[in-house]
Symmetry: C2
Subunit: 323 residues, 2 copies
DNA sequence: CTGTTGTATGATATCGATTTCACTTTAATA
DNA sequence: TATTAAAGTGAAATCGATATCATACAACAG
């Protein structure tokens, strides 16, 4: 079934059928004739033919470091909810945190495959920026702030700062920190900076360097908690960059906490289910992950619909979740 | 940059350039001339034009109930690893467990948008089967067994059976079960059947109806554990259909376990991080989720490459994970 | 009555590739 | 040497839509 056959059956030209689907000038009689034929045959215009002619694929490319992650899962669900509502579909690429793959997909998507790209990267190096500059399709970065680009991100600094302050207020003054790679500006750098400034402003600035770096897994949190506690034996609290790390640290603590001088509690960031199932549950920060995905798509749609051309940077809030 | 311009620059016909990219007859001189021009210009053939002509989109449609889930995340990662290796890309749709959306995406994908579909549904009703029959693109179902269709699934029955047996062997003879909706044949029905038969064969068949049904969340596991324990006060073990449910149950137990007559432990299924961060960690079953995703793509590829036409049903194994 | 505007229409070119077809040249075989 | 097969080539048709353009008719203003 193609447009020519429909035109023939309805006794009109191909152009008329095309106009029927694209709200062009068309008389009532022809409109009804075409409608009848379309309903009888169940005809739907070919998307590939439309794409070839119009250069719109109705596809959004989404690049994420991994998918089996609570926070990224939420971002993707946010993205999807708006994408579908707008009649687009999602092309998903996962990079396993491999920067080369990231660049590869970025260029692959750019070759007219998608109308826009949403990039959730952990590390944005100079190679990324160079490619981003050259892209012919609009991009929105989610989870990281990058000047000169459309992005929606979280207030990692103040969240981490407030979390630190809250921990100290609840009586935990001897704190350590398990962070993420400093290459990750949002989760690594900003959250650690929030911790440092929180410590400093509360009068414990000298302790801010009690810090180790973990990768984004529970197992790594377990290992690094051990490392940190062996190094600083008088800790009574550990703040972690993510909930996964915190869960690993919590696991270490209820296995080996008995041998320590004082009871140690942990805090995480991300408000995942993990924070509620450890014993005891731990304090965490709620970031608006779904909303960040939704907002990223909205920005992209505004660009695609040419409502706005100007750069947008959106910073989302947070709230502390007490155990 | 289109094929005509490349042909012009290389001093050959469009057909020659097309052959260059598709391994057709072409002399060495022309091949080299074209190669030079292609490298200089960075030309890449338009995918949409290719699609229009060849009817191959190089896209695989993947339909999942939700994405922020550990097991489904693993399946998707498995799918992606093979898909990319084969030069395909993934169109992802999430149904939020809404059967209507499931059917909607199934038909949307069918309209020549994708070369094949992978469906990870929890519930497969008659409406699904009807649509599945009519699809013009090949489908592989993952996570559920469905006779007459290509599918790759897990040995839910024996896994649950062995888990039950193992719990009884470790001294837990007064067991209860928190299951999932019976509409989900794999996770709901089969896993409960495994529990029942395990109980029966170990001589506790009369206790098999100590069962409540939860939804797939931690919070629901918490609620249902409470319900189950209020109803059967002498339980010393609870087996759950998923790790999320088990984590919720574990959370309830360390909040209210003190008031019970005996110490109660839980067991889950899915081998997620959750099983290791609760206190105490719980027994669980490892299902090969990544592998199921990978296998599903392999089956699809075999069909697309026309190596095999025959129906394939693949049942994957499992192993018990002691805490 | 002439000129303009808005509505309505279909023929045709176009998007950018692949595929068919007819044809030439070269190599291998009888 | 004659015959056949294989290698190599480009013109043109094709995939299925949309966009442009020329044209026609009605209503209406001057």
């Amino acid at each position: 079934m193609n447009i020519a056959q429909i035109a023939e059956l309805a006794g009109v030209s191909k152009a008329a059928v095309s106009r029927y689907f694209n709200n062009g000038y068309i008389s009532r009689e022809k409109r009804e004739a075409i409608q009848r034929v379309v309903e009888e045959t169940g005809y739907r215009p070919s998307l590939q033919a439309q794409t070839l002619r119009t250069k719109k694929t109705k596809l959004i490319g989404v690049i994420v470091p991994k998918i089996a992650s609570a926070s990224i899962g939420k971002i993707v669900e946010g993205i999807l909810s708006v994408i579908n509502e707008k009649g687009y579909q999602m092309l998903l690429a996962v990079t396993q945190n491999d920067p080369e793959k990231e660049l590869e997909y970025l260029t692959a998507f750019d070759e007219k495959q998608v109308d826009g790209v949403i990039l959730a990267a952990t590390v944005l190096g100079t190679a990324h920026k160079q490619i981003l500059k050259k892209l012919s399709v609009p991009v929105v970065i989610v989870g990281q702030q990058l000047s000169g680009y459309n992005c929606v991100y979280h207030d990692d600094y103040h969240a981490s700062y407030d979390l630190t302050k809250r921990m100290i207020e609840t009586g935990r003054s001897s704190l350590g920190y398990i962070g993420a790679t400093q290459q990750d500006k949002a989760v690594g750098e900003e959250r650690y900076r929030g911790f440092c400034d929180g410590m400093r402003h509360m009068g414990y600035g000298d302790q801010a360097e009690r810090m180790v770096t973990a990768s984004f897994t529970v197992a790594s949190g377990y290992e690094k908690a051990k490392e940190l506690l062996e190094c600083y034996k008088d800790l009574n609290g550990i703040i972690c960059a993510t909930d996964s790390i915190a869960a690993g640290a919590a696991q270490y603590l209820h296995e080996h906490g008995g041998g320590l001088s004082s009871q140690v509690i942990v805090a995480g960031q991300g408000d995942s289910d993990m924070s509620r199932v450890t014993n005891p549950p731990f304090m965490t920060v709620h970031y608006f992950y779904e909303e960040s995905g939704e907002t990223a798509v909205r920005i992209l749609m505004e660009i695609l619909e040419e409502k706005k051309e100007a750069l947008q940077e959106v910073k989302l809030g947070y709230y502390i979740v007490e155990p």
